[in-house]
C-alpha cells in the first residue's frame, strides 16, 4: 500500500487556529500523526522579565483570548498566595461568576465549532447565537466581550449592582431554555451520533497515563476537576463534577454540554449567596517565594508555577495549559482513524493553540 504524508494545517478551514499535523496515511487510514507547533509561539513567559508583576496580569490574560479571565484569576491567586493577601469575600464570588460565564461562552463556542466540523452548519449558527447572549452578559457586567480585564491582585475591578443581578438571572433563564432546546438535537440526533459515537476512544487507564486534563479526562470516566480544590468561592457552592464513561468524541461533547448547564447553576448559586463587602484590598510590597497555583479552565487543569525574588519582576513564570496536556491524546487516537474523521477527532480535545504555545 502506498504511504503518503499529508500536512493538516496550519491554515485549515475547520480550524480557526494554526495547528499543524503531519499525518502519515496508508490508503485512507492514518498510521501516524506528529504535531508541529510554533506557529503561535510568542515567548510570553519571558515577558515576566520585562513587565512588573502587576502589569503581568494584563499579559497573562492574553495567553488565550477565550479563557482569559481564568488565566488572570489563576495568576492573581498565585501572587496572592505568595504575598499572603486575603481577598474580600465578595471579590471571590465575583471571580467565580465571571469565570463561569467564561466557561459557558467557551463551551458554546466549542460546541458550535464541533458541529461545524461534521458539517452541521445550522447547529453551529444556533449555538453561536446563544453565545452572543452570554457575551452580552459579560459586556454589561464586566465591560468587555471577551478579554474582560476584571482581575487585579487583591480583588476585582468592578462590582455588580442589585438590579444587574436580577437582570442576569432573567437572561440566564432565557439562555438555559434555549440551550435545552438545542440539547435534544445535539445529544440525540442520528447524524451527530453517527459522526461522533465510538470515534477516538480513550480508555480510563490510557487517559490517566497520558496525563490528560479537563473534559477530555472526565469523558473517560476519571473524576478530576480543579474546582474541587475550592478556590475562589467554589468551596461555598454545591458542586459535583460532570463525568461520562464513553471516552469517545460523543462523550466529550456530552461532558461539555452538561457543563454549560452546570455553569448556569453555579452562577445562580453564587448570585444568591453573594454578600456585601469590599471588592479589593490594597497591595503593599513585593512578592517573594515560590508557589504552584491550579484552577479549572474550560479545557481542563491550568497550572501556574510562580517564583519571585522580591524584586518587581518575577524570576520565573511557568504556564502549563490544558491543551498542552491533551495533545498526547491526539497522538493516541488518530492512528487507525479515517482521514475524513480527523477534523472531528482534532476538535474533540478542544485544542487552543495560543494557550499551548504561549
Amino acid at each position: 500500500m502506498l504511504k503518503t504524508v499529508i500536512p493538516f494545517g496550519p491554515q485549515h478551514p475547520v480550524l480557526p487556529e494554526p495547528l499543524h499535523l503531519k499525518l502519515t496515511v496508508e490508503d485512507e487510514v492514518i498510521t501516524e500523526a506528529i504535531p508541529a507547533l510554533g506557529f503561535v509561539h510568542r515567548g510570553l513567559e519571558m515577558l515576566a522579565n520585562i513587565r512588573d508583576f502587576k502589569q503581568m496580569t494584563q499579559v497573562v490574560e492574553r495567553v488565550c483570548g477565550i479563557c482569559s479571565m481564568i488565566h488572570a484569576m489563576c495568576y492573581c491567586q498565585g501572587i496572592e498566595a505568595i504575598m499572603g493577601i486575603e481577598v474580600p469575600r465578595r471579590a471571590t464570588f465575583l471571580r467565580t461568576i465571571w469565570s463561569e460565564l467564561n466557561r459557558m461562552h467557551s463551551h458554546l463556542l466549542w460546541l458550535g465549532l464541533f458541529a461545524d466540523s461534521f458539517g452541521f452548519e445550522s447547529l453551529f449558527m444556533q449555538l453561536w447565537k446563544i453565545r452572543e447572549k452570554v457575551l452580552d452578559l459579560n459586556e454589561a457586567t464586566a465591560g468587555n466581550r471577551i478579554i474582560v480585564s476584571v482581575n487585579v491582585i487583591g480583588g476585582v475591578r468592578r462590582d455588580l449592582a442589585p438590579e444587574q443581578i436580577s437582570w442576569m438571572l432573567a437572561e440566564l433563564a432565557e439562555v438555559e431554555q434555549e440551550i435545552n432546546r438545542l440539547g435534544s438535537t445535539l445529544l440525540t440526533d442520528y447524524t451527530v451520533k453517527k459522526r461522533t459515537a465510538g470515534k477516538g476512544v480513550i480508555t480510563k487507564d490510557k487517559a490517566f497515563e497520558l496525563g490528560l486534563a479537563g473534559p477530555t479526562l472526565r469523558a473517560s470516566g476519571v473524576c478530576q476537576d480543579m474546582r474541587m480544590l475550592g478556590y475562589a468561592a467554589f468551596d461555598q457552592l454545591d458542586f459535583e463534577p460532570v463525568v461520562e464513561t464513553g471516552g469517545d468524541c460523543y462523550a466529550r461533547s456530552k461532558v461539555r454540554f452538561r457543563e454549560v448547564l452546570q455553569s448556569i447553576d453555579l452562577i445562580r448559586q453564587a448570585l444568591s449567596r453573594i454578600d456585601q463587602s469590599e471588592i479589593r484590598t490594597k497591595v503593599k510590597g513585593r512578592p517573594q517565594g515560590e508557589t504552584v497555583c491550579r484552577v479549572e479552565q474550560p479545557r481542563g487543569e491550568l497550572f501556574y508555577y510562580i517564583k519571585a525574588d522580591g524584586t518587581k519582576n518575577l524570576e520565573r513564570l511557568r504556564i502549563r495549559t490544558p491543551t498542552f496536556a491533551n495533545i498526547p491524546a491526539l497522538l493516541s487516537i488518530l492512528p487507525g482513524m479515517w482521514l475524513s474523521d480527523v477534523p472531528v477527532a482534532v476538535l474533540s480535545i478542544d485544542p487552543c493553540i495560543s494557550c499551548t504555545e504561549r
Partner: protein
C-alpha cells in the same frame, strides 16, 4: 463594460480568507462571530473560504513570528490581484502587548502590505465589519490610484 461588471461584483461579494498569525484567539473568535447570526457579515455578500486562490480579502489577526511569516507570505502571494489586506487588533498593527517578546517580529505590515488597520484588543465585531466595508472602497479605485507599498 465587462471590466466594470467585474469590479462591481468584487465590491458586492468579496470572498474572505482568515489567517491567524500568533494571535491570542480574542480577535479570531470575534472574526468568527462576525459570520454568525447576530452580526452576519454575509449580508454584505462576504463568504468565508479556505482556499487563498478564491479569496479577495485577507483578514490577519495577531503578530507575526519567525515561523508563521512564511505561511503568511505564501497565502498573500497565492491570492489573485487585486487583493485587500485587513489587519485586525493591536497585535496585528504593531505587536501590541507582545512587541518585546523574543519570537515576535512585529506588525503584519512588516511582512505584507496592509490596506486597512482595525484597532482594539480585541477588536469588536462592529469595528471589524466597519474596517472590511471601508476596505472595499479599494476595489472601486483604479489600479494607479492605489497606494503602492514597499514589501
Amino acid at each position: 463594460m465587462f471590466k466594470k461588471l467585474i469590479q462591481k461584483a468584487r465590491v458586492k461579494s468579496p470572498w474572505l480568507l482568515h489567517y491567524d498569525c500568533s494571535s491570542c484567539n480574542g480577535c479570531d473568535i470575534e472574526v468568527l462571530a462576525c459570520l454568525t447570526p447576530v452580526y452576519d457579515i454575509e449580508r454584505f455578500g462576504i463568504i468565508n473560504v479556505g482556499n487563498p486562490m478564491h479569496a479577495d480579502l485577507l483578514l490577519v489577526t495577531g503578530t507575526v513570528n519567525y515561523r508563521n511569516r512564511k505561511v503568511l507570505l505564501n497565502l498573500h502571494d497565492q491570492m489573485p490581484d487585486p487583493k485587500l489586506v485587513v489587519a485586525i487588533g493591536s497585535c496585528a498593527l504593531s505587536g501590541g502587548i507582545f512587541r518585546e517578546a523574543y519570537n515576535v517580529i512585529g506588525g503584519v505590515d512588516k511582512v505584507i502590505p496592509v490596506d486597512v488597520y482595525v484597532p482594539g484588543c480585541p477588536a469588536k465585531p462592529e469595528a471589524i465589519i466597519d474596517g472590511v466595508t471601508l476596505g472595499l472602497n479599494v476595489f472601486t479605485r483604479s489600479k494607479e490610484g492605489r497606494k503602492t507599498h514597499a514589501r
